[in-house]
């Protein structure tokens, strides 16, 4: 799952930053050294550091932007997809009727009848599989392939007033 990868990468990068600060902090007070050589070495290392960040950034951008979740909203939807209309309202979801089976690609046509809401879809293990904003006057189209059978939970992902936390709905996906 992407969430696990993100967690590990974040912790590792934070530890790298922490390590650099700890190293300098531990060496800051002892054996005072001349500044110009430190400065020179730091500048040389920084050039490398900068270019590593640039190359990594280009690679990350290319890899992660090959498949954006916006295609369905631009009208690019698979022919065999099942369409489901969903409208957020204070404080419930109006979910259209559809028979869903595991493996279906579902096109969620998401909008709102009043304020901003956010449609967040969680799989039977309560891991988010995708989301989009539900906004009055606009139609955001979310395309997701629901691989697992079971009960998916819809939570509201945008604060919308008094009962926001209880704006929950369920979608059943058969075997």
């Amino acid at each position: 799952m992407i969430q696990d990868t993100v967690f590990v990468v974040t912790v590792v990068l934070m530890l790298v930053v922490a390590g650099a600060f700890a190293y300098v902090a531990l060496n800051a007070g002892k054996a005072v050294a001349e500044y110009p050589p430190i400065q020179q070495r730091s500048q040389g290392m920084r050039v490398w550091f900068f270019w590593i960040l640039i190359v990594a950034g280009v690679l990350i951008a290319v890899v992660t932007m090959l498949d954006l979740p916006y295609a369905a909203t631009r009208g690019d939807t698979p022919d065999d997809a099942v369409t489901l209309e969903i409208e957020g309202r204070q404080w419930y979801w109006e979910v259209g009727e559809a028979q869903l089976t595991a493996g279906d690609t579902v096109i969620f046509n998401v909008t709102s009848g009043d304020v901003n809401h956010g449609l967040g879809l969680y799989d039977p293990a309560m891991r988010m599989v995708g989301q989009t904003q539900a906004m009055p006057g606009y139609l955001n189209v979310l395309s997701l392939t629901l691989e697992q059978p079971g009960t998916y939970t819809v939570l509201c992902m945008e604060y919308c007033g008094l009962v926001h936390h209880a704006m929950v709905s369920e979608i059943t996906v058969g075997e």
Binding site: G29, S42, L53, W91, M128, E158
Partner: protein
């Protein structure tokens, strides 16, 4: 070290800065109490009704963002005043507008029951399903407007004073040294930072004022149609710029104080100047990363949101954090609360933006937007970054600066 040519700071100016920081420290504590209250409620240790919970949430969000802005502006004002002739009257006027705004906001929330979140996303302020009335929402929005007017005056005064001394904002950003190889001495770091801050914050505050007025008119004349996507863009442009600018203002404490501890100057070279000019543009261009799940937004805008989120981290890692580590490394620094907090603040800032940059990736945002990951990021970044800078400055101002002859 750059020449400090402004007239001596009158006592009322120093008192003003101390009052800014004292009020900020107090409000930070009060807002932390509200934060703890929300957690206790979620843990079912304390029972809050849903609307009281969301009122507390709204007060906590607006209060923390506002007070971060006030405290950070006090820090940069204190140091900028050494180089340019800022108006002490405007410093106090900003505080007056701020406190007036706080009264309206607290009245709107706890008397008028407004609980629309600090982001006041249209049309929620006027569409509460009967939970709060128009008066409560209007009081809250007018309060924010008042605070915005005060800050606008403050940053216009920054612009006036900087242009009086450096003749143009381009010169104050060091563009002659950056683009034309000028051999004149570059402006000091504080002036460069203040110029960036005044540019982005004037733009951000004006955007905020536009959206506040649009919503206020709509509250009383609902036939005046307002586009929810336009207002969302304006809100997040304003909100992102304003909160992001707080750390760039408080950072000046690191620029001014840490070099005194290590006996090494903060280098104002072309990399430094390029970083600040790039940051000026990026802080304003990055806000679409708050709208990555608004699929109707143009794809190019959302792509900019992802790419600039990454790029905006480069000056933090490769310039600010790198320079901090370089000037402290084997410097014989004496650790005390001031130097320790300022050093930690750069760690907190650098580490705290890691989860934000990752969440700025569209594919990640798709499963993590508006989850607890986001408050996790900004609490770490603000507490270990901004608050550490502010408290480092407070120790310096109240105790160590004068006692240790640093000032």
């Amino acid at each position: 070290m750059a020449e400090q040519t402004a007239p001596p700071l009158p006592p009322s100016g120093r008192i003003g800065v101390v009052v800014y920081l004292a009020i900020s420290a107090l409000v930070f504590v009060l807002m932390m109490v509200l934060g703890v209250l929300m957690r206790l409620s979620q843990a079912t240790w304390v029972e809050l009704s849903p609307n009281l919970f969301y009122e507390v949430m709204t007060a906590h969000g607006a209060g923390m963002v506002g007070i971060s802005g006030l405290a950070a502006s006090g820090v940069i004002w204190y140091f900028l005043r050494r180089y340019v002739d800022l108006s002490v009257g405007i410093l106090w006027a900003n505080l007056a507008f701020f406190l007036f705004g706080v009264v309206l906001i607290l009245g709107g929330i706890f008397v008028g029951n407004y609980a629309g979140g600090w982001t006041f996303l249209f049309p929620l302020p006027g569409t509460s399903a009967g939970v709060w009335g128009t008066g409560g929402a209007a009081s809250y929005l007018f309060g924010l407007l008042s605070i915005g007017v005060g800050f606008l005056l403050l940053y216009l005064d920054f612009a006036r004073a900087i242009m009086a001394r450096y003749r143009s904002l381009a010169k104050a950003l060091g563009w002659p040294q950056l683009f034309r190889n000028s051999s004149d001495e570059a402006p000091p770091p504080t002036v460069v930072a203040a110029t960036m801050v005044l540019i982005v914050n004037i733009a951000g505050i004006l955007a905020g004022a536009v959206v506040l007025v649009l919503i206020l008119v709509n509250l009383y004349a609902p036939q005046f149609a307002v586009d929810p996507l336009l207002t969302k863009n304006l809100t997040y442009f304003f909100g992102h710029v304003f909160i992001n600018a707080t750390i760039y203002q408080a950072l000046v404490a690191v620029y001014e104080i840490l070099p005194k501890y290590v006996g090494r100057s903060w280098p104002v070279n072309r990399i430094f100047l390029a970083a600040w000019t790039a940051t000026t543009l990026m802080v304003m261009a990055v806000y679409p990363h708050h709208l990555l799940m608004d699929f109707v937004m143009p794809t190019w805008a959302l792509a900019i949101g992802q790419i600039v989120s990454y790029l905006a981290g480069l000056p933090v890692f490769a310039v600010t954090a790198w320079t901090t580590l370089t000037i402290v490394h084997r410097s014989g620094i004496k650790w005390d609360m001031t130097s320790g907090l300022l050093f930690v603040s750069i760690f907190g800032w650098s580490a705290g933006i890691v989860p934000a940059i990752i969440d700025g990736v569209i594919a990640v945002n798709h499963v993590m937007h508006n989850t607890m990951w986001v408050p996790g990021h900004f609490h770490m970044y603000l507490i270990l970054g901004l608050v550490a800078m502010l408290f480092g400055f407070m120790y310096y101002l109240t105790d160590q600066g004068s006692r240790k002859g640093l000032d």
